[in-house]
Symmetry: C2
Subunit: 321 residues, 2 copies
C-alpha cells in the first residue's frame, strides 16, 4: 500500500458510535489496497472493514462507489456493502479523510485460478452486468482508450529501457486501437478490475467480488476482455484456452454476447492488455525504493498484447464460431 | 512495515492443516510490525494471528520468543500464545520463512495513556517479571549499554544535522553511562519494548501485553525505566509525574524495588532514553523515501534524556523518599 493513515483509538471509537456496533474489541491496519488505508475491525457485532479514502481517490466518486455496492447487494450480488449510520449515511469522516464502514466479506483469493474459478468469475461478471443495468449514477472510464495516450507519453522516453523496441511497438498499437476501437457495443457499469485478487472463493465456491474503485460506465464486453487477461494466462505467460472457454461460456449463459461484441473480443482484449501494460509501465518506471508493494513487471502484458494480435476470431478464445 | 511476504492461498491452506483449525475463511496481511510479516486469519475456529519471521529476526531466537509466550501464559499473564500443531510444534515454515500461528489477542492500544493505564502497565510489568523468573531459556540484550556505542558511531557524523551539538552531547552522556551503569541489580526476563502500542486495553481494563521480540535478560528495573519513558511523557514532551507515580506505585505493590534499584532509577531512565534515541536516530538517518512506516523523530528522546539528567532521586518520579 502506498499510503497509510494512522487512526487513534479515541477517534475510532467516536467514529463508530453512530453505527451501533457495540464495543470495539480490536482493529488492525490491513496491508491491502494501493489507493486507500484499510482496517479490519472486530466489535461485539462481528468483523467489519473500514476504508479511509486517500488523495488518489476523488471524493466526488465516493457516492458512486458506495451507492453501487448498495445497489448490487440489493440485486443479490455477493459483495461487501457499506454500513449506514443512525442517520442513514454511508459516508463519514475519520482522521481528516472520507471514510466508510463496510461489511466484511469472507473468502480467499486464488493465486492459481483453475477453469472452475474462471467459470465462476464469468458467471459472476455477467450477473454483475445485469444487476448494474438500472443503477442511476454514472462514472466515466478515465482509463479507456482516450486515456491511454497520455499514459503512454508519460513513459515513452524510458519504455525502450524496459524492453527494446517497446516505444514504437506501443505507438503503432495505440494508433490502431484509437482508430478501430468499437464505439457501439452495449454499455453499462463495468467492474474494470476483476482480477483474481478482487474475487473471493470459499473452498470451491465463489463467495464474492469486491474493490469497486475502478468501476465505471463502459462497454460490458470490455470488462470480459479484462477478465480474459486477468484469469486465462498461466504464470509462465502461456494462454490457457480451456480457462478462456470456461470463462466465456459461463458468462454468455447468463448474458449472451451479440455479434458485434463477439467480433470485437480480440480488439477489446488488445485494448485491455494495453491499459494494464501502460499503468504497470508507468508504476514500474516511477517505483520508489523501499515501498511496501513492489510494482508488477509490465512485460507480461506485452506478451499478452502480442498474443491477442494473433487472435482473429472468438474461436481463438475457445468459443464456437 | 519494512518487509512483507506474500502468501498464496494453497500454501497457507497446506500450512494450516496440521493445526486443525477448520476451513480458512479469510486472511489479510497486517500493516503492523517492522521486523516481520503478519497476517490475521479467520477460520471456522475463530481469529488467529500468523507471523512470518523475516531476516531481521534471528531464527535462533525463535524458541526463546515462542517458549516465553507459552511460559508466561501458563503463569496467567494475558498475552498471545503460539498454537501447537498435531505434533506439538509451535514453529513451522511458510513461504520459505520460519512461521508461527499465534492466538489472537483482543484489545486496543491507547494513544493517550491516562494515569489508570500507567498503573495497569506498572502492575502488568511486575507480574511479567515475576512470571519470567523460572523461564529456562535466556537471551542477551543486544541493545543494552554495550550495544549503544556502535549504534552511536553509525550515526555520529550526521547527528549534528538532526540537532546542533547532538554528537558531543551523546558522546559525553554515553561515556558517563558506560562508566556508571549499574551491574548488580536484580536480573530476569524483561519485555524491553513495553510501549503503549504493545499493550492492549478493552474499555478501561488491561487486556494483554504482546510483541516479545525484544524480550531478553537484563535488570528488571531497566524495564520499568523503559516504561517511564514510554508512558509518562505527554505528546508535547512534558513529563507527567502523576502518571509516573501511578506506574511506579502499581509496579512496587506487586514487586517491591530494593534500595539499589530505587537509587538507580534516574540513571536507568537516562540509559533507556539513550537506547531509543540511538535506534530512532539511526532509523531517521537511514529512512527510505516511500516506506510505509515513517521513522519516529529522535528529538523527543533528546528531551527525555535531558529531563532525566535533572532527576536526582526517585522522588523526581513521584515516589516517596
Amino acid at each position: 500500500m502506498a499510503v497509510y493513515t494512522e487512526v487513534a483509538d479515541e477517534e475510532l471509537e467516536a467514529f463508530l458510535e453512530p453505527y451501533g456496533l457495540g464495543q470495539l474489541l480490536s482493529y488492525k491496519g490491513i496491508a491491502e489496497g494501493v489507493e486507500n488505508s484499510n482496517f479490519m475491525l472486530h466489535t461485539d457485532k462481528g468483523i467489519f472493514f473500514l476504508t479511509l479514502y486517500e488523495k488518489r481517490v476523488d471524493a466526488n466518486d465516493l457516492p458512486f462507489f458506495l451507492g453501487l455496492m448498495d445497489h448490487l447487494a440489493a440485486k443479490g450480488i455477493a459483495c461487501p456493502v457499506p454500513l449506514h449510520d443512525r442517520d442513514g449515511k454511508a459516508l463519514s469522516e475519520l482522521a481528516g479523510r472520507p471514510a466508510a464502514l463496510i461489511s466484511y466479506l469472507e473468502g480467499v483469493s486464488v493465486k492459481r485460478p483453475q477453469p472452475r474459478h474462471c467459470a465462476a468469475i464469468g458467471r459472476a461478471l455477467a450477473e454483475f452486468h445485469l444487476a448494474g443495468r438500472d443503477f442511476k449514477l454514472s462514472r466515466a472510464n478515465a482509463l479507456s482508450v482516450s486515456g491511454w495516450r497520455p499514459l503512454f507519453e508519460a513513459s515513452r522516453a524510458q519504455a525502450d529501457g524496459v524492453l527494446a523496441g517497446l516505444a514504437s511497438d506501443l505507438e503503432s498499437e495505440l494508433t490502431l486501437l484509437e482508430r478501430d476501437w468499437p464505439r457501439d457495443l452495449p454499455q453499462g457499469i463495468i467492474h474494470a478490475d476483476a482480477f483474481p485478487d478482487n474475487v473471493f472463493f470459499l473452498g470451491e465456491k465463489f463467495s464474492g467480488i469486491f474493490d469497486f474503485y475502478f468501476a465505471c460506465n463502459d462497454a460490458l464486453a470490455y470488462d470480459l476482455a479484462i477478465c480474459l487477461n486477468a484469469w486465462c494466462f498461466e504464470h509462465d505467460g502461456a494462454f490457457n484456452i480451456t480457462k478462456a472457454r470456461a470463462l466465456l461460456q459461463a458468462y454468455t449463459e447468463v448474458r449472451p454476447l451479440n455479434a458485434d461484441e463477439l467480433a470485437a473480443l480480440p480488439l477489446l482484449a488488445r485494448g485491455s492488455a494495453m491499459r494494464f501494460l501502460l499503468t504497470r509501465l508507468y508504476d514500474w518506471l516511477n517505483r520508489q525504493p523501499g515501498a511496501l508493494v513492489s510494482p508488477k513487471n509490465p512485460i507480461e502484458y506485452v506478451r499478452r498484447l502480442r498474443f491477442h494480435r494473433g487472435v482473429t476470431s472468438p474461436s481463438g478464445y475457445g468459443l464456437d464460431a
